[in-house]
Symmetry: C2
Subunit: 295 residues, 2 copies
Amino acid sequence: MSVLIVGSTALDSIKTPRRANPRLLGGSASHAAVAGSFFAPVKLVGIVGHDFPPRYIRLYQKHKIDLDGLQIVNGKTFHWSGEYEVNMNNRRTIETELGVFETFTPTLPASYQNSAFVLLANIAPSLQAHVLDQMRRPRFVVADTMDLWLNIALPDLLKLLKRVTGFVLNDSEARQLTQRNNLVAAIKKIHQLGPKYVIVKKGEHGSILSSPRGLFNCPAFPLPCVVDPTGAGDSFVGALMGYLSTARGPIDFNLRRAMIYGSAVASFCCEGFGLKSPRAFRGAISINASRNWKK
Amino acid sequence: MSVLIVGSTALDSIKTPRRANPRLLGGSASHAAVAGSFFAPVKLVGIVGHDFPPRYIRLYQKHKIDLDGLQIVNGKTFHWSGEYEVNMNNRRTIETELGVFETFTPTLPASYQNSAFVLLANIAPSLQAHVLDQMRRPRFVVADTMDLWLNIALPDLLKLLKRVTGFVLNDSEARQLTQRNNLVAAIKKIHQLGPKYVIVKKGEHGSILSSPRGLFNCPAFPLPCVVDPTGAGDSFVGALMGYLSTARGPIDFNLRRAMIYGSAVASFCCEGFGLKSPRAFRGAISINASRNWKK
């Protein structure tokens, strides 16, 4: 089954203590779509400007990502520039140029509206809700978010949470959203806001799934060298949804395995800048190989 | 087999955002010894003053801890007072009164010198080495440490590391010791300093074992309420050594299971102040029950 993914499609200029890389392919939907494509067909919803490099369109195509829902319009592509601290865990936004994102209204092609698996990757909650409005009874809807929306669009986010099956956020966001410092207490409170499944991402410390079956602790792959963690969380949830859409059996059990796949793909994402790490492709090949072997 | 444990035996005055508790039973050896006692007979090496409350001696005895190596001398017991921040991960030392610890020379009773399993719990590395000097061919020696010794006794610590089989430290200490920010790189460098087994404690994020068989990720039990984490790391390594001393088979495999037991006992430690949490005892009972069931 295919996965519909909506989110940001962007150009990222990333500085780390080791290197600076301008105008890489970035954005939550780009990372999630490429990660998900290793497991299932992906339908992308997003917007880019006329300055969007054709080579990035070709990269999407190479991953067989359905681009019917990608709007290419006059104006500039969303551009984010940021800098990582030495510890590679904290990052600082240098500049955000919304460009064509300022007037973005995601409109689903008819062929997208029956998707069973929907990933509302990080984007304004009102846009995530607008995508959901156009869907016909999706089976499994997961939303991701970021601290910005907790700060400037909390009412929209709270409304959205009543409509999603799963919610993915990082540990500091979970604490901010619930005003609970203890993570277990925070997760409990997030369930009360709507989602049946809550996944808290903890960067290098892995992730925690809370489901009706209890808690599941998923480790992060211990990398000897982190080149650029941008998009790791998006890759994690993209791969997770990709795997989930192809797996048979109860969601609860599959979700645990999906997190392990998500964690593996996220680790490849951290090993290179942007979406061009050759390791990511090598990794994906071996992941696919193991899946084929299983069948 | 019994475990010899040397370390600090102290009175802890602990403030958390919820409560203040003066003069609790504390110290690395106290926590480790009580935790280890749930699995194996423990021989304690330490020093206290005449102000040490008899009820704490009775607590040791209740856990059948061999006190032949506990010196009770004129003077004041080592006293530490500290305060936890709201997030319960960061703590601040308010005062340290060394008392009788200032002149402590650990002397092993003859009955201690043949112990196969030795835990050099957190204490000055010169004292840890002095205990090792008195041992006859121990099978498995693990040392714990703290940032203080990295700052004021690094040469002693580096000498000690060449003599231990396992080394336990937390993630910030691993980074400080090796000047490596990446944890995998830090662990690699610690192996080069001597220890065959390196265990990095990450508080609520669990712990990582590095051994010739590779890395093992041990989660922390996700607690809905952390009352007082003081001694959690000592309890972890105490229970780990206790379990290890009774387990048959290859150390590498047993160590992984020992970490899970250590993690469970450490979680009970966090649920109450000092060493008086009733849950710790209930927990221990169920841990023992599961061990008996296994046999």
